[in-house]
Symmetry: C2
Subunit: 542 residues, 2 copies
């Protein structure tokens, strides 16, 4: 009779202390005199990562050797798209770390042992962690419960720390770039120095490159999103492992997604083409926008067009969500109320991440309503913000309801089962009767047989309409998945449209609006990625 | 087969939107040009409060009239100390609102309809809400589930908005005061103007008082803590009501706290006296500290003494927590793993509120470690921060384990029950035997009887040691309750010791440290209040 909550509490306290301490150090790094604290922070992070690497290696060896360590597996944890995702993002993170090592090594004179050790250990950490999660994300560990929980929490804290670090670095980079951009726009002179970090400039001045500065810092800025997603994915998987420590699951409970005939083969062409249309339009617009930004004097894609694309695609996404919800209401099913840590985490993360977009949208709405000359761009921004809130709300309702619906196989099986049972019963009853009675009843059997045929017809019709609904659902899922993907790509790779209009910046002032954006936008980006992942899961289940 | 989560999700989305919108407005009030947004915000708040008042009146009438509306009551929700607490804090909040009305009415020329309507509606809101919560905090509403959930969430959002508003106003007041204090200290001249709000000064200058400015704004600053606690208590109770909507409870499951003989009568003198000693010492020191602050030139109680008191009492509290945890380990009981929304909320709130104190302590530790001339005050601050982290962790483990332990009555009953059962069995078996056999066994019965007596003796001894442990627990609970109370009173009524030393302020700069304190300290204050309440509950259950 072990008390799970007590042990969880202990590991939670350990993890939160590690996380809070590193956050406090991180705040110092980004506000105080950089040199001292950056070194301290890097040492701390390196030590923590080394501890995690050792534990993960130990745990993998231990689990492989001791057959009693893992008796059960949670088949809902770590679905295949998540495991593939972590490998893809892991490769991205690894490339970024390698570039970082190369970049650091270039400045021969300024390389300190900490500055070069940290990325090397981080690369090792990414490698070991990816292996570890691939191997053991489904495990329900049964021995050394307390130690396992504590180390998992430390690992979670380390991942979140790296996440915060990356997000802050990226935000700082974008903010510096925007500030320079706005400054350039205002003064109409080309001061290119401001676009770089003061830190970086200093490096170049003092240290001097070894190999003609081949690796530019701006190259690996585009790899930040991979690193960010990698750590978030890892954190989610570790949390599920932590929840599953000591859990005992009935292995027989298989989770078949009961695909009806013709649903698996069905290729949702409508969803695919409309989704791809949005995705490609978005990509083209995004690239034009990015190119246009670099080249100041060219007449680049006007912001209103870009906004217009955002507004229309959000409206279409809202429509798709509404269609999905309506089909859910028509195609009634039982809800799954069973305990499922992965699903609960998905739900909580979706809802928490929504708060970021809600907040930034409300701030934007207030600013737009108060802006006195209410122009076209004002109207577009206002519509965009309102649609953003509506779309997030609808999509949350849609995804969460979808995740909780039981597969329809029960329904079909039940129908077939009972009809089959009934006919057997009927035959049995008939056989048991004496011959004369049977013959006298022969005239009557026609009627039930007809009834049975009509019953089968309605059943077929029911199944057909049911299958049609499910095929439509596949379209909706695929379309929304592709839309969420493009809405992830644009902000993750640097589009800050709420900054570029200058409307909110004028209202709130640069620093306040930068704070609001830098806090809320990472959640917004995470939301899109997570929603896309959930939609992919729903698609594979439908 | 209604799906609870779907309806909860809907109401949660409504509530979070209301809360985020009002937070966004509130940010504008506290950063932008005040006049416009303050008016907008007050109008919004007044409308929301009016809607809540109407709904609460309707709900109370409806529940009273329709007997089917509430079929079940959750007897764990709204314990008596919480209901008494809400009335006490409600009176405080009401007094504060009345003073606010009087203060606003004084400036005859500047009174706008919004400025006078808002406090009047707020007073009404406090009155109606207190009635509503007193009457229906235990209800599990069974009809109009969706509407009830949504309105409860709106009510929760309104309470949290008022809480954020009050906390921000209080923080601003304290920050202004501290800034003025530090400025005075530095420049050694007495500029009394700075201690007042610029807003207030303006009022006095332009409007002019009607009745000789009898109600000073500083008078009701001391009533802020009541208002803050009132809204938090209300929010907690509303959340429990929301969780209980549509819940069906077995009414027969009574939650007896099985007091052993002599435990209820036992007055924990040791805990009472040591606790009162800490409380009174703390109060005296706090008053001396406050008086000393006002009078600059007097040699007031030195900060080191005040710090020393904090450090020693924290150390004693840690000790008491350790004693409590050890007794828990000795006095093994079964853990209650049943669903209990009130307890889960208590747990989550305690843990979340801890994060505030953890964060501020880690920031302080980093600052202290980096301060170069490491003086006495540095050492005291460092010890204080480390002890704060340890004490919070221990206390959380202690309270959460305490809340989950099942009452010992089962244990005692089980002991008595089985022994009783066994004797009956024995008698029965004896009676069934034939006389000769019985007589032949008479010589043997002496042995079991002796054994039974010795068994009873060990049982009595077991009970005695058990009761002794429980009496000690009462001491521990009472002592910790009183300690937490004084640690609530000091910061809630204005002690900002981490500011007064000037060590952290020098390190982080005034504005950054003010931000850290203003975000973290409200959580710290809430933690103390909440821990005191939980300890009181444990005391009444022990």
């Amino acid at each position: 009779n072990d008390w799970k909550k007590g042990s969880r509490l202990l590991s939670g306290l350990v993890g939160s202390n590690v996380l809070l301490f590193s956050s406090a150090l991180l705040t110092c790094v980004f506000t105080e005199d950089i040199d001292i604290f950056e070194k301290d922070f890097l040492i701390f992070l390196t030590i923590m990562m080394a501890i995690c690497i050792l534990w993960m290696l130990f745990q993998m060896y231990f689990t492989w050797k001791n057959k009693n360590a893992v008796l059960y597996k949670d088949c809902q944890a770590g679905p295949i798209w998540m495991r593939v995702g972590i490998i893809l993002f892991g490769i991205g993170a690894l490339v970024m770390t390698s570039l970082k090592i190369a970049y650091t090594a270039e400045f021969e004179d300024c390389v300190t042992p900490t500055k070069i050790t940290q990325p090397v250990i981080q690369a090792l950490f990414i490698l070991v962690q990816t292996c570890f999660l691939w191997v053991s994300c489904k495990h329900c560990v049964q021995i050394y419960l307390n130690a396992t929980r504590c180390f998992l929490m430390v690992l979670l804290a380390v991942n979140l720390t790296i996440w915060i670090l990356t997000v802050t670095e990226e935000s700082r980079h974008h903010t510096n770039e925007l500030q320079a951009y706005l400054y350039r726009n205002n003064s109409e002179t080309n001061i290119s120095d401001l676009s770089e970090d003061p830190d970086e400039r200093e490096n170049v001045n003092i240290c001097g490159c070894k190999y003609t500065c081949a690796v530019n810092k701006t190259v690996f800025v585009y790899l930040y999103p991979f690193n960010i997603e990698y750590n978030l994915f890892a954190a989610a998987m570790i949390y599920i492992m932590w929840k599953n420590v000591g859990r005992q699951i009935d292995e027989n409970a298989s989770f078949h997604h009961g695909l009806g005939p013709g649903v698996r083969q069905h290729i949702p062409l409508l969803g695919l083409f409309t989704g791809l249309a949005v995705l490609i339009t978005g990509l083209v617009m995004f690239i034009m926008y990015e190119v246009g930004r670099e080249n100041l004097h060219k007449q680049w894609l006007s912001l209103s067009t870009f906004y217009f694309f955002h507004v229309t695609s959000l409206a279409v996404m809202c429509l798709a969500n509404v269609v999905g919800i309506v089909i859910f209401k028509l195609d009634k099913r039982n809800m799954d109320n069973q305990k499922n840590p992965s699903r609960t985490l998905d739900m909580v993360l979706l809802l928490l991440a929504t708060v970021g977009q809600y907040a930034i949208s409300y701030y934007s709405i207030i600013a737009m309503v108060s802006t006195v000359p209410f122009g076209l761009l004002c109207g577009l921004t206002l519509t965009y913000s309102v649609l953003m809130i509506i779309q997030h709300s609808l999509q949350n309702v849609f995804i969460i309801e979808g995740l909780h619906r039981l597969p329809p196989s029960n329904l079909l099986n039940a129908h077939q089962g009972t009809s089959h049972l009934r006919t057997v019963d009927h035959h049995d009853a008939v056989r048991r009767r004496s011959m004369p009675e049977r013959e006298s009843r022969l005239s009557l059997t026609n009627h039930p047989r007809n009834e049975r045929i009509s019953r089968r017809e309605t059943l077929t019709q029911h199944i057909k309409s049911h299958l049609k609904k499910r095929k439509t659902m596949k379209d909706v899922y695929l379309f929304l998945f592709l839309c969420n993907l493009i809405f992830w790509i644009m902000p993750a790779f640097g589009a800050r449209i709420r900054f570029d209009t200058g409307l909110e910046v004028n209202f709130y002032g640069f620093s306040l609006w930068a704070i609001i954006t830098n806090i809320c936008l990472p959640f917004g980006i995470f939301y899109r990625m997570h929603a896309a992942a959930s939609l992919l899961e729903l698609y594979s289940m439908s």
